[in-house]
Amino acid sequence: MNPEDLSYTETHEWAKVDGNVVTIGLTDHAQSELGDIVYLELPEVGADVEAGGEFGVVESVKAASELYAPVSGKVVKVNGAATQEPALVNRDCYGEGWLVKIELKDPSEVENLKTAAEYKEFIGGQ
């Protein structure tokens, strides 16, 4: 279920490293737990985010939930399609429903993240 080539946080974000750019999104487990996502509050391009720091908020009909950055860096792209249509995150959280792209500051931070297998175990084998 959770793609093998991604890294994961305990706060249910995924990170895909491509050179020095990291794409960040919400895991399938998180979108399923939240239910219908209706609002995304994401940083502006150029904003600095810190590993473990809050970079945005996702709101479903029933709850608001903070988003935490898997790695530190500068936001280089924000998924405008997802802020326009937050249900994209429910429909395709590992694809079209990505959230932001960050220019990686310290590649070693990626090593602190969980592998797909570790994340699977973390969420109870789902």
Partner: protein, 367 residues
């Protein structure tokens, strides 16, 4: 806290893919297909709900009508047999112990339907405030409740029952049978749509659910969880006990003053409520729509343009019908005036909202 109770329909919810959560001491489905889909299907077609967590008390005996009338603010003595009534139960200070339905089964026999979170408190309150000669029975756990709500609900119930329901009006009820199972059916609900609530012995709840579920899904309806039940009632500004009303708020402040009958005899809370009516309330439960992005949630602060605190959010959500973010909150007068601009403190950022008329959703031909 005691172990959460499974309703008689628990296994059915699980096999339908319901996401189960604990609510008021019961394990209930919060959603199946998704809150928005369930919500929209109820507004456009029909949905089926398990509401077996609600509490049911029977009150009977000589003098029951007059005694109950002292307990509630609406007028039970005027209630005809075969009709139900929505009413607050108030404290001496006018606060709300609970908001309940009273069904008149016979001249001196009534069924009270209370909120799940209040079953124990209400039972103690009712027993403590009714004269000793009356019989009060708590049948909450022996009674299951299945609701079908939505414009197509009459089609479903007509098919399920032997009776013609076209003559059954809003807040009327009948005793009937569904596949040989005795049921009580009332034209009531918490969605604003046409709808029915079916009370049945818990031991036979599965049979009733199966009949109604098959008919509901046969016309494109869906099972509905507590999530959509909340968004449906919020669009109608129906109060949720524990959020919008409690012992610290009065029916006059909550905007349900129509349930307080000052022209009947004495009832608990009357004196305070009369005084509040004469003096005028200082705050009112008002509805607002967000102008800025963000969803108002319970307990978020509300401030005026000068950033002075004027209230607090009691309920809030994305509205699937209006596709806007809506909320309820007690606002100091005169900030409750329609059109007033207020600020909701969402994640430490004041965001603009506007007070609007309620219900948020104007239903054509609705109740």
């Amino acid at each position: 806290m005691a172990k959460a109770i499974k309703t008689p329909l628990y296994d059915r919810h699980v096999s339908l893919g319901g996401k189960m959560v604990e609510f008021a001491g019961f394990i209930m489905p919060v959603q199946y297909s998704g809150i928005i889909d369930e919500h929209v299907t109820v507004r456009e077609n029909a949905g089926i709900f398990d509401l077996s967590h609600m509490g049911e008390f029977y009150v009977s005996g000589k003098g029951a009508p007059a005694a109950l009338n002292k307990l509630v603010s609406n007028n039970v003595e005027k209630l005809k047999i075969g009709k139900a009534l929505y009413t607050p139960v108030c404290t001496p200070r006018g606060g709300i112990v609970d908001d309940i339905l009273v069904y008149r089964d016979a001249d001196e026999t009534f069924m009270l339907v209370v909120n799940a979170s209040n079953i124990e408190k209400d039972y103690d309150w009712v027993v403590g405030h009714l004269p000793k000669g009356l019989t009060v029975e708590d049948k909450s756990l022996q009674t299951a409740l299945v609701a079908v709500q939505g414009p197509q609900s009459e089609t479903v119930l007509t098919e399920a029952l032997a009776d013609d329901l076209s003559e059954l009006r809003y807040y009327e009820f009948i005793f009937s049978v569904m596949d040989d199972v005795p049921v009580r059916v009332s034209r009531t609900g918490y969605t604003g749509e046409d709808g029915f609530e079916v009370y049945v012995d818990a031991a036979r709840a599965g049979e009733v659910w199966d009949v109604l579920f098959e008919l509901t899904s046969g016309i494109g309806g869906v099972p509905v969880g507590l999530g959509a039940r909340d968004t449906l009632r919020l669009e109608m500004k129906y109060c949720l006990y524990g959020n919008d009303i409690d012992e610290g708020t009065t029916p006059l402040e909550a905007g349900i003053g129509w349930t307080v009958k000052f022209d009947k005899g004495d009832f608990i809370g009357k004196e305070t409520l009369v005084a509040q009516k004469n003096d005028g309330v200082k705050r009112r439960l008002a509805g607002f729509v967000m102008v800025d992005p963000g969803i108002p949630r319970r307990d978020y602060g509300i401030i005026n343009i000068e950033e002075k605190s004027i209230g607090r959010v009691t309920s809030g959500s994305y509205s699937p019908s209006l596709r806007e973010n809506i909320g309820l909150g007690y606002l100091e007068l005169p900030y409750d005036d329609v059109g007033t601009e207020i600020l909701v403190d969402i994640r430490k950022k004041p965001r603009l909202a506007r007070v609007v008329e309620t219900p948020f959703l104007k239903l054509i031909g609705g109740n």
